[in-house]
């Protein structure tokens, strides 16, 4: 049964079946009846993680190192899926909103839609995945070779260097590429979702699971009587028994954590994983089930790995006992390869060889199909994901910028895009073949795969940091990625090339140019031997340290432009802005709808754009016949659609070329930000104005109170003399025979009171003139001594009445000032009257003085006139000294009560002195009298 023809026929039949499922899935999707929209299919699609590595490589690893040799690769993803809700869900949500099409698109979009980052991620991904690709090619070729040579189980000694297997591998590679092209590039999907592909992958995940379980069941219960029996028999063989426990040393310690970490990163950072988890996700809620379904799958697929490994070892060691070559070379610790006279047996392929040895043809074929299925699934999804990235992020940006291609003017570019993708797929698979051809035969499947894991782990800071830390900048990410990648190349790829013979081994041990510190396998003198670091742990350590350090360090010291900040907020705060970010648009104005449509149709095809625009029109109630100008929202929508086909960096460029006005340039953004700033300032000023108004209102109330006080004071003051005048006039009228003396006295009082009234009214009028600025000064040059004389004369009677002693201390020299004589006299009279008012009536003393003062401060010689009026009255307290000059303010003493007057006298006095460029103040202590000083500038 196991003839090459049949094997090939069955293999192609199986691929045909997968293709049919994919085709059906796509058709159903187009009809709107998606078959993949359920969590079980979603979880199964994640199982594309399990490749030939799982099917073959794990068995080999188990036979070399027991449980801890391979299980970390599956426990890591289990742990990571637990974090699926906080981390993966956020990534999925962000990607849906921003219509992310690949991991390169995701990272580039986060850091300001940077074309540089998109390109860097793509290159790292492609180069990093090449080893992984070669693993699959090796596995398929080797397993095909093995099963074709049935019943011969042993591979001829030099078989791996035979042209035959290399030819097989080449054909395998071409076939794989063709399958990938057929599955993934039939047409251009705006969202880069491939429902049919997901359906096919889910199917093949089931097949490989069933295959390995069938093999395992057969071995455990067919060849032996259950696990107990198997392990009991295994314990009789020392090389197997020692695998029951793990070797506890530094090497297994670090190796365990290293593999755990790498697998945790790989489960979502590998391009194919990002594709199935994020891009192909139909409903976020599927993640809830996938979070435990997928770990369950991983558990199930690993249950029988150890039985298969031990079963293989048991059988072949037995064979070894009767084989002369093998007996000689059988090591204490199994290294994975057994050499027989007839050829070699590689533990990696025990699943096949054991079945073949036991003549289980059907099962062996099933196992082969399972392994082939696992490998092809990986290649198809991985190459599709990578080709999308290469096309969108590497090729298209370059082509769009080449002016001689005039791509903007071509009417149909979808064809070009597809061609670019197909070529990319071919090239990537060929690269994988070349790596296999020259390097891979020296390594186990697991160790080659680890190289790829270490490569994609470089994306970890960019992605995880990007979705949680707004401060992560484009520059930081770029530095981190490039440095991490460089270290990866230097510490992993270089050594593998050296070990394969392409470079001198001296390089490894003694470093480049003999600088041992820079040796690729113990960089900077890291004591890898005692630490137990194997090559992978060493590489992961240095690359992650440098990557994270630069990512964080450079981010902290670099600034983000407006686009970066916007994207950072959109990503990190995605759950806050979910609804609004749909409308988030950076476009200032509009394009014509027709132009936009034509642009999109060139890349995505007429029918798809028709559907997309109809959808938009329905959601936003737009009639395309009436709306000729696309608003910012539609432009943004168009940009996102386009990004699905050609990546966000290129989409930005294309839409820019169509929109009438440029999208917001930096200064426009700054302008808008300025306006916002102005709004903030304006509202702050508004607040200040409100506070000012409140203060003004308070002052108004105070003034109102003062006005009322003034009115009551004035009316009181006016009424008193009026009352006296009236009373006395009445008496005089009513008593015609009043004696002459009294008559004379009364009339005198009337005159005096009238004068007082006049004075008061004049005061008030004066005050009103001052307040309204209506005073006219009549300035003349005068000798102030005359002013004093006149004022003393005016108040003479008052002073005599009060029996106050007035003393003059006037300088002998004249003091010439420029002023209004009457007003100055008014000042003196006011001061003297006040002094009289507050003096002790029996013992009052008033002193009036005048002096010319020369002030020699600084360079200037100031000459001014100083005049004072001193009394020995009740004095003015310190607090009141401030307010005596204010209008309506009167010092109310406890003993004497409210003084008479309107309270405006000093105010007028101060105003007059101020208007003469003078200064007036009071010097006083309670009960020790008061001295009013004023100065006036002298004139010559």
């Amino acid at each position: 049964m196991l003839e090459q023809k049949i094997i090939i026929f069955v293999s192609f039949g199986y691929m045909g079946l997968l293709f049919a499922i994919a085709f059906w899935g796509d058709k159903r999707a187009e009809a709107g009846k998606s078959i993949i929209s359920n969590p079980y299919i979603y979880a199964l699609s994640l199982a594309v993680y399990c490749t030939a590595w799982t099917f073959y490589g794990s068995v080999g690893a188990a036979s070399r190192s027991g449980a801890t040799g391979f299980l970390s690769i599956y426990l890591g993803p289990t742990l990571m899926m637990i974090l699926g809700w906080p981390i993966l869900r956020k990534i999925i949500h962000i990607s849906k909103i921003n219509r992310i099409t690949s991991i390169a698109d995701f990272i580039a979009s986060r850091y300001g839609k940077s074309a540089a980052i998109a390109g860097a991620v793509t290159i790292i991904a492609v180069l990093g995945i090449v080893p992984y690709m070669s693993v699959q090619i090796k596995a398929i070729s080797t397993s095909f070779q093995l099963i074709s040579q049935y019943p011969d189980v042993y591979m001829a000694k030099t078989v791996t260097s035979l042209p035959a297997i290399k030819n097989t591998a080449f054909f395998v590679a071409i076939l794989l590429a063709l399958f990938a092209v057929v599955f993934g590039t039939r047409h251009l999907e705006a969202t880069e979702r491939h429902e049919g592909l997901v359906a096919a992958i889910a199917f093949e995940s089931s097949v490989k699971l069933i295959a390995i379980i069938s093999v395992g069941l057969f071995i455990t219960y067919g060849l032996y009587s259950g696990f107990g029996d198997l392990f009991t028999q295994a314990s009789l063989v020392p090389q197997i028994k020692q695998l029951f426990v793990m070797e506890v040393n530094a090497s297994t310690f670090t190796g365990w954590y290293n593999a755990l970490f790498l697998a945790m990163m790989a489960i979502f950072l590998l391009p194919r994983q990002f594709q199935v988890i994020v891009v192909e996700n139909v409903d976020e809620n599927h993640l809830k089930k996938a979070v435990w379904l997928f770990p369950l799958y991983l558990l199930a697929i690993n249950i029988f790995v150890i039985p298969i490994a031990f079963g293989g070892m048991l059988y072949f060691f037995e064979q070894c006992a009767s084989d002369p070559v093998c007996q000689q070379e059988l090591p204490q610790t199994f290294g994975g390869i057994l050499k027989f006279a007839k050829g070699t047996v590689d533990a990696d392929y025990f699943a096949l060889t054991l079945l073949m040895a036991k003549k289980q043809q059907g099962l062996a074929l099933f196992a082969f199909i399972g392994g082939m299925s696992a490998a092809t699934g990986m290649v198809i999804v991985e190459t599709i994901a990578l080709s999308t990235m290469v096309c969108n992020e590497l090729v298209m940006p370059v082509l769009l910028r080449l002016p001689f291609l005039k791509l903007e003017q071509k009417t149909d570019l979808s064809h070009l895009l597809l061609i670019i993708r197909r070529i990319s797929i071919l090239l990537i698979v060929l690269l994988g073949y070349l790596y296999f051809h020259y390097v891979v035969e020296y390594y186990s499947l697991v160790s080659i795969g680890m190289i790829s894991f270490a490569a994609v782990a470089q994306f970890c800071p960019a992605v995880i940091g990007g979705i949680f830390w707004k401060g992560a900048t484009r520059l930081g990410t770029l530095w981190g990625l490039l440095a991490g990648f460089f270290i990866w190349v230097y510490t992993l790829v270089l050594p593998s090339l050296a070990q394969a013979g392409f470079l001198s081994r001296e390089l490894l041990t003694h470093g480049p140019f003999g600088i041992e510190l820079l040796s690729p396998i113990h960089l900077f003198g890291l004591d890898v031997q005692h630490l137990g670091f194997n090559q992978y742990t060493h590489a992961v350590f240095w690359s992650m340290v440098v990557n994270c350090a630069l990512f964080i360090g450079v981010s902290l010291f670099s600034r983000q432009n407006a686009m970066e900040q916007k994207q950072a907020t959109l990503f990190v705060d995605v759950f806050k802005y979910s609804a609004e970010s749909e409308k988030s648009s950076f476009w200032k104005a509009s394009a014509s709808v027709v132009d936009l449509r034509m642009l999109l149709e060139r890349f995505l095809g007429k029918s798809r754009i028709h559907d997309a625009f109809s959808l938009y029109a329905r959601e936003h109630h737009i009639n395309w016949e009436q709306e000729l100008i696309a608003d910012a929202g539609l432009v943004s929508y168009a940009e996102k659609l386009l990004a699905g086909a050609i990546g966000s960096a290129s989409a930005l460029v294309m839409v820019r070329s169509v929109v009438d006005e440029e999208p917001l340039g930096m200064d426009e953004i700054m302008h808008i930000l300025d306006e916002t700033q102005q709004m903030i300032i304006y509202s702050q000023e508004l607040e200040k104005a409100t506070r000012d108004l409140e203060a003004a209102n308070d002052r108004l109330k105070e003034l109102d109170r003062l006005k009322n006080e003034f009115i009551s004071t004035v009316t009181h003051e006016l009424r008193t003399p009026l009352t006296s005048v009236r009373a006395l006039a009445e008496i005089i009228q009513k008593s015609p025979d009043l004696d002459a003396e009294k008559h004379h006295k009364f009339v005198g009082i009337i005159i005096k009171e009238s004068e007082r009234l006049s004075r008061l009214i004049n005061d008030v009028l004066d005050f009103q003139k001052i307040e309204s600025g209506q005073i006219h000064w009549q300035m003349t040059r005068l000798d102030f001594r005359e002013v004093i004389e006149d004022s003393v004369f005016s108040t003479g009677q008052l002073i005599e009445e009060k029996k106050i002693a007035l003393m003059l201390d006037i300088s002998k020299k004249p003091g010439f000032v420029s002023g209004d004589k009457d007003r100055l006299i008014q000042v003196m009279v006011n001061l003297i009257s006040n002094a009289v008012k507050f003096c002790d009536p029996d013992n009052g003393r008033i002193k009036v003085g005048m002096r010319v003062v020369t002030d020699k401060t600084g360079d200037n010689k100031n000459r001014y006139l100083k005049v004072w009026v001193k009394d020995n009255g009740i004095g003015i307290g310190k607090d009141d000294q401030e307010i005596v000059f204010q209008e309506f303010r009167q010092v109310i003493s406890r003993s004497k009560g409210r003084p008479g007057g309107t309270g405006v006298g000093l105010t007028i006095t101060k105003h007059i002195i101020d208007s003469h460029d003078g200064r007036i103040w009071v010097d006083s202590e309670l009960n020790k009298g008061a001295t009013f000083f004023f100065t006036l500038p002298l004139v010559d």
Partner: protein, 83 residues
């Protein structure tokens, strides 16, 4: 609200628990040359712990669901107002 934040917290806690279950020191505890039900202890432990962890993951996501579905609407609103 028994929603995202507490869910995230639970998953994170479970993640730490899983890290603990499979950390190297804990593995060495079971690294003994004895067999349980005929299976070497280390293998037995790893697969059992793995299964237990998966069961925990299932319940981690389930409990909020049952609380949401059994609470009548008014109580739900009340929770919202007081929260």
């Amino acid at each position: 609200m028994l929603d995202n934040r507490s869910l995230t917290g639970r998953y994170f806690g479970l993640f730490l628990f899983g890290l603990f279950l499979f950390c190297y020191p804990v593995l060495t505890i079971f690294n003994l040359p004895i067999s349980l039900f005929g299976i070497p202890l280390l293998f037995f432990y790893i697969f059992t712990a793995w299964s237990v962890l998966i069961v925990f993951i299932i319940f981690c996501g389930k409990i909020p669901d049952t609380i949401h579905s059994s609470e009548p609407d008014t109580a739900g609103n009340h929770l919202k107002q007081s929260g």
